[in-house]
Symmetry: C2
Subunit: 271 residues, 2 copies
């Protein structure tokens, strides 16, 4: 399976934790990791390559010219590299037809093949909506000319490269970013939603983009069905959304002990 | 290493989870599991034996005549089998010189060899005190004739079988249980403390008997040092003390997600 990651140096450690959880819970799969970046150092890439090879994955490094998105708004905790997923098709091998973008602040808790093979006929993407926050974001955005059908989280994004190559227009993205520069809150995600929301297949967030801050919300919403046992055995992508991250001090959520466990496993797989 | 377990049917599943965590975090060790019981069914033992063999451990079944401790107080959630650890030496092979008793409501998070090899010269046992509760228990007990030096938790109990064979007197235990029958709260633990407290080597509870209910207490006590990261990387025995257990519905603690993770691993190792 093809996995797309885009990051800067700050996320190299969380990336290892994410990859560790992915291979531990998908032991019979082979993964091709496409790393898009513009600012990683050679030794950082070498280290990562060693880790990835040692654990039976393949790394493909895609270095990006620094001029892309230079004018886009970059918030402190949203590195410039996070835009790359929108134009990934321009830099990836032409023969690739599908790729799964994953944020590095994710744990993969269960097999992901069935999600990876989602039928994307007529859809450019598959992604999830964080319903609890969706309305707020849609209201905050209101890009007059752009109809937003749903507000999707772009942290788990299955990409139909064939269709994206046909329809995603680089100049349209640049124009949009230029125009709404001051109104972008989560820049890449806002662009995705404003321009392509109608072409995204909605997947169930409880399985494919579980917001780790919302344990009690999901549990209540499902009348108790989605308890911790259910999450551990069914959720594929557990996403540590928001500014507070489990690899920083002072983070607290019911998933902290689980995250620390995978951090420990990542250390062992790095030895 | 020799591991002693004593349980009834209700704890067969938690036992698998405990053993799973133990072998996953001690991959280069070999374990001889001594199971003392009187009420398990043949098919339960066969199932357990299959699981233990499959995962490269050895099971030794020690069946106990039903008359032992028949008159001792048995609380709903403390099965009669929990007394056995006090008289284990009477039923174990004479050549065994040391054994580690572990409750089944434990996760083994790190290598246990250094604990197992604790110097026990002049000590019958090594165990930990749950300091937060110790004073309360000592006060509740007050067995007039018996000096209690410290109140130890008997869930993790390293046993010096040589010394125990010399000093533990079966009749003394029966007489004690008979006399204080109505004042025993945690029966086996009370006996251990009342009779042998002075011969127990105290170990650090943060490493060797971390009470899963006390995350914030330990963290505060250590001025923040003992945070989740520290526990995952240093604590050997994480003990789910108390009536509420992580395999039951409605349990909640910062370690629930970790426990559910090991439950899932135990399922995989059972397949």
């Amino acid at each position: 399976m093809n996995i797309l990651i885009t990051l800067d140096s700050n996320y190299l450690w969380p990336l290892r934790v994410m990859l560790t959880s992915m291979i531990m819970n998908n032991p019979n799969e082979t993964f091709d990791i496409y790393l898009m970046h513009s600012r990683l150092k050679d030794e950082e890439i070498e280290d990562l390559d060693k880790f990835i090879k040692k654990n039976n994955m393949r790394l493909h490094v895609v270095e990006i010219d620094d001029h892309y998105f230079n004018d886009a708004k970059v918030c402190m905790h949203y590195p410039k590299e996070m835009y790359y997923r929108l134009l990934a098709h321009k830099f990836l091998p032409q023969e690739l037809r599908r790729i799964l973008y994953l944020d590095p602040d994710i744990l993969v808790l269960n097999p992901l093949r069935s999600f990876y093979e989602t039928d994307l006929t007529n859809f450019m993407y598959a992604a999830c909506c964080h319903k609890k926050f969706a309305i707020r974001f849609v209201n905050q955005l209101r890009f007059s000319a752009h109809k937003i059908y749903n507000y999707y989280n772009s942290g788990v994004l299955l990409i139909n490269l064939d269709l994206v190559r046909e329809h995603v227009n680089e100049h349209e993205i640049f124009a949009f970013v230029d125009k709404y520069h001051n109104r972008l809150i989560l820049p890449d995600q806002d662009v995705l939603n404003a321009l392509y929301s109608g072409k995204i297949k909605e997947m169930d967030e409880i399985y494919y983009n579980y917001d780790a801050r919302l344990y009690l919300y999901y549990k209540t919403l499902t009348y108790g069905k989605c308890d911790m046992d259910y999450v551990i055995n069914n959720t594929v992508f557990l996403h540590f959304c928001g500014k507070k991250k489990p690899w920083n001090k002072k983070y607290m959520s019911p998933f902290l002990s689980l995250y620390k466990h995978y951090e420990k496993c990542a250390k062992l797989l790095s030895e």
